[in-house]
Subunit: 669 residues, 2 copies
């Protein structure tokens, strides 16, 4: 914390009046004082290397220069991680500690062309290669003799994996697979690092042998010469072009013209092709679910980090910025004093907490289910899958909306890249699409919920996260209770009500002659909403329960503010869902008016702690990377300092004056 | 229309099955066949100059290169406009015809550093200079002897104009004003073209004379030498840095160190400072409202154009893109067949229509009120002001959400700049902040509504756009009527109900001891929502009424689809506002379920006409500028063509391999 520099007086006053101990909250969020210490030490170690420092801020570079900077930064950062792994004698832990969370993202601002090597290439080898294959490949990958990536989506195919077109046809005469892209839409499209960075790649392709297609399988393919880095014959590789964000990730395309690879390059842990072309099937196809769910849980944690960053920036700025004069004889108030501004920011703070605690809850569930899987017990897999789908969809959409609200809450200055809010939005909104498009995911959860509702109606007992459906199926519209626990029950009742209504509508449509698929499609807008309502039940109740558990031994001051935040989040969502509550519960107009007052009262109570709450996220200035959000609140000085870094400001007169403007003015253009 | 190239078969099939005549709708939207002709001819004239064609797409350029390209394009485009003005013997009309609408925006993709010269510098001279001043300045500005801009906002001050810090102190001894920036926060910040393009500027500053401050006044200030373009002594000028979008606008900062300008450089149409320093007050300060409201109406029209662009891109893409396999034996459906996708796109199409018709309605009102103003009648000014505030806020926020929904509806490919959706979002979201921050504007409208409600309650008759408050004040909760006109009445009832509740809450809080200002602030979240509800009444009813008027002589086929769109928009918003309808009207659960079915049925009915509806916006490929949205639907071919334009793809191996990647792999970095 840069506590030595002079802090803006308004911001200092906010800190002085904070009612709780900020460090206590930081420790709570980190999982204990020791964890805070460790995180801070790690941040210090990594940041003192200076990899994050940019001669010219990357926003002024060309697309090509951005990529070159990203390669440089990624190489330096991964070199550092390798050093830390040796020094600390850890494996993937150092890797996760540095790259997970806000630290890695702050250094690799525009994304990294090497991340998929660690996040997808090596893990896929570990998960899908046989022991012999692992012996050959994993060492080479760990030693960086080769750099890999993972290519699944194609130009014409994303979510629907069975639709992929790339073929791998076994030729028993040479004991090789022939990889081919039969059409333009079969070109691999999107994989990070694929364009100009990786020299190897795991390619997902339709496996053909003896004239039969056996579906999608993973193949290791060499793309480039290990010495010269030139693309190998038959390999068409390049980058897909500029994007809304993450222009350092080097997303690429890849096409094959009858490229031959040895039979052994099919990863054969689960399925094999024998020398004569005989296909031997995998014992279970559910084993790959694990990684997918792991990635989704990681995404929820990422969302917390992005939200924490955005609300820290916007809240500190709102304490420094002054505007208007509602009362004639008083100075312009801090914009944080406006209730509408508190409404935009404080809910953001509680959202970060809510997502962190939900993420921890599902993380524990993930570990339990994985442990059960090892013993062959797959009972809770569908439940976990359904939960991870809707949670990924709801948290990414909500994070995007919170980050954008924070940006807009900073007015014009939020539109400047120096605020770091646009870049943050670019990262967050990408998560709405990758690893499962959000609407598709909500409908996957809906399939599970419809089944669960039918089971509940039939009296079958349900797994924990949908057990409320059984209660709701038994008795609807209980007497309304306008407390937090009453609201939580209300959300259960409304989620169950929406699911029940969807089931009824599907049945009604089937009776009127539609096929199940068409009836499902016609009801899918409602289904997606029901899925969101289910997810809301989970987020609200896990936030509430985990907070209760978490603050058991906290100081009374901290407990108070933590529960105010929980209340705020729950009451906020109740007010957002008044229509559903009115439809499916017995809430009254008087109750609603009380909720509105409660909400406004909570904003006022939390207002004095707003800066303390964001300080507790303990995001260093290097991580925030924002002229508006720095710890010292020198907003205007920093905005000017950042402006002066623009290469345009290096010369008083730009060449375009002589080239275009002057001739234009003189009528000589 | 590039009808000669081969069109994607799916897209062609969509066009073949369209139930109405697309040209008929285009003519309707343009205001007649002659207008369509004229627009097309103009587009042809302008586009054949090729100013929009970029050697390297601008997304690959550095920030500095983007500015230089923007100067080049702006000079060429304004030169063309000058030529057209001479050829067609028109004044500002050619200017508006080329720059207004989608055409200018498509050419000046990243914004233009010269726009404010025409949009603010010249109009301010015309509005605020005396006849003598106009004689001197306007000719020079029209001839481009000088290029100007308009500087109002400061680093520390935006919305609250009275808070501006720049001073202009009159020195009677030299008959000069001394311009000064007393603090860093007094620096002008944001004006387009200010950084390196303009050599003159209208500066808004606090006028001091004889030791007294007379508030904000406009001064003409020379910034740069007319020959060398070097900044003049005491002028600190530069650019503010990179932004989320519009990086060609050359937004600048400007500080003064005791800069002296002649007394005559104060624009004195409204107020004067005599030679001895005597201040002579303006007869009316309301005269400047006009421009502000004009700009807001123009913004609403801009929003239509952006929405039309985004839905055209996303709808055509959704007709080409195929995904998943809900029925085992059938091919992957077009994603436009999914109800969730129709839900995202069709509402967007109706929003474009709704905004266009609301914009026309308020445009007529604006012209009437301006005519009344000329006769000294200011009666409808507050009503127009209140309406323009909330309409700007609601339409920009909704446009941003529609554009972003369209982008997300295109999955990963929507994230690519080649889709043109991110750039479009960058323009639209900026409008949420400039020309009045949206929350501030909603609360300005709310002030008017609170007064109007009190007048209604007291039995005073109200102006047309708030007259519904009188009806609602008289009788609440009429019997529910589940038709379009019933819904429109429902929206009036709920808006009135929300305003009444706000008034009651403010009074309650005042009674409990709060000042009016504090009671207002505590109720401001509700007030902003009430203001949105009022605006919704206006948009929904003007959309409905204007459509009725517009389609009177249309073919039955077109009438049918136009009313389906109106119904869709109204039912969509009813479903979005079920909570409010349940609170403030007598709508029942059965009514809601019927609305939901009605909505889903409308989506299905409109589905076959989706492509025809966006074709009717008649946006040329050069204007759409999107690989996903071109008329021929060659989505995948264009994506690949665009990718190959990336400078990174010009070399098979990037230099960073030799510089970083290889040494890193070999452990030699």
């Amino acid at each position: 914390m840069s506590s030595k520099t002079k802090v803006n007086a308004d911001l200092q006053r906010e800190r002085d009046k904070c009612s709780f101990n900020i460090t206590e909250l930081t420790n709570l969020l980190d999982g204990g004082a020791a964890m805070t210490e460790e995180r801070r030490r790690r941040e210090e170690t990594v940041l003192k290397e200076g990899i994050h420092i940019e001669e010219v801020p990357s926003e002024y570079l060309s697309h090509k220069e951005k990529y070159e900077l990203a390669v440089k930064k990624a190489c330096l950062l991964f070199k550092l991680i390798r050093r830390l792994q040796e020094e600390e004698n850890t494996g993937m832990e150092s890797f996760r500690a540095v790259l997970g969370g806000s630290l890695g993202a702050a250094i690799l601002q525009d994304g990294s062309p090497l991340t998929l090597h660690y996040v997808m290439f090596i893990p896929t080898l570990m998960g899908q290669a046989t022991v012999e294959q692992q012996a050959y490949w994993i060492g080479r990958a760990f030693n960086l003799d080769i750099i890999g990536t993972y290519a699944q989506t194609e130009l014409g195919h994303g979510t629907f994996i069975r639709g992929l077109e790339t073929t791998a046809t076994y030729d028993p005469s040479t004991k090789e697979f022939v990889l081919h892209s039969p059409t333009l839409t079969a070109y691999k499209w999107w994989p990070g690092g694929l364009a100009h960075s990786a020299n190897y790649c795991i390619v997902m392709a339709q496996l053909y042998t003896n004239g039969q297609c056996h579906g999608i399988h993973p193949f290791v393919v060499q793309l480039r010469d290990e010495e010269t880095h030139m693309p190998l014959p038959g390999i068409k590789v390049g980058e897909i072009g500029a994007k809304l964000g993450m222009n350092g990730t080097n997303n690429g395309f890849l096409g094959f013209e009858h490229v031959r690879i040895p039979r052994e390059h099919l990863l054969m842990k689960n399925s094999q092709v024998l020398e004569d072309g005989t296909y031997v099937k995998s014992p279970s196809s559910k084993l790959t679910y694990g990684t997918m769910m792991f990635v989704r849980v990681v995404i929820v944690k990422d969302m917390c980090n992005y939200i924490a960053k955005a609300v820290t920036i916007a809240t500190r700025y709102s304490a420094v910025r002054r505007q208007s004069q509602p009362k004639p004889d008083e100075p312009e108030p801090q914009i944080l004093d406006y209730l509408t501004q508190q409404h935009k920011l404080l809910v953001g703070i509680s959202t970060a907490h809510a997502f962190q605690l939900s993420a921890e809850w599902i993380w524990n569930m993930y570990n339990n289910v994985t442990a059960e899987l090892e013993t062959g017990d797959m009972e809770r897999l569908p439940e976990l899958h359904a939960l991870s789908c809707c949670l990924k969809a709801v948290t990414t959409a909500e994070a995007a909306s919170v980050v954008e609200r924070c940006r807009l809450a900073c007015g014009g200055h939020g539109y400047m890249l120096a605020s770091n809010l646009p870049l943050t939005y670019g990262h967050v909104t990408a998560a709405c699409t990758y690893e499962g498009e959000n609407t598709v995911l909500l409908l996957q959860t809906a399939r599970y919920l419809v089944k669960a509702w039918q089971q509940a109606a039939a009296g079958t007992s349900l797994p924990p996260t949908v057990r409320y459906l059984s209660r709701a199926a038994a008795a609807r519209k209980p007497r309304w209770d306008n407390s937090v626990s009453g609201l939580l029950h209300g959300f259960e009742t409304l989620a169950a009500g929406k699911i029940a209504l969807c089931v009824a509508n599907i049945e009604k449509r089937q009776k009127s002659g539609l096929s199940y698929e068409d009836a499902w499609n016609m009801t899918s807008v409602q289904l997606a909403e029901a899925s969101e309502a289910h997810c809301r039940v989970f987020i609200l109740s896990s936030y509430y329960e985990e907070t209760e558990r978490l603050v058991k031994s906290s100081s009374p001051e901290l407990r108070e503010v933590m529960f105010q935040l929980v209340d705020l989040y729950i009451v906020y969502w109740a007010l957002q869902r008044i229509g559903d509550l009115l439809r499916f519960t017995s809430i009254s107009e008087r109750d609603i008016e009380k909720l509105q007052y409660w909400y406004e009262d909570l904003l006022t109570k939390l207002r004095p702690n707003a800066v303390g709450l964001v300080d507790a996220f303990d995001l260093r200035d290097e991580i925030l990377h924002s002229a508006l959000g720095a710890y010292d609140g020198r907003v205007y000085e920093r905005l000017m300092e950042e402006a002066l870094k623009s290469p345009l400001n290096a010369e008083p007169v730009n060449q375009s004056f002589h080239k275009y403007l002057k001739p234009f003015m003189q009528g000589k253009l």
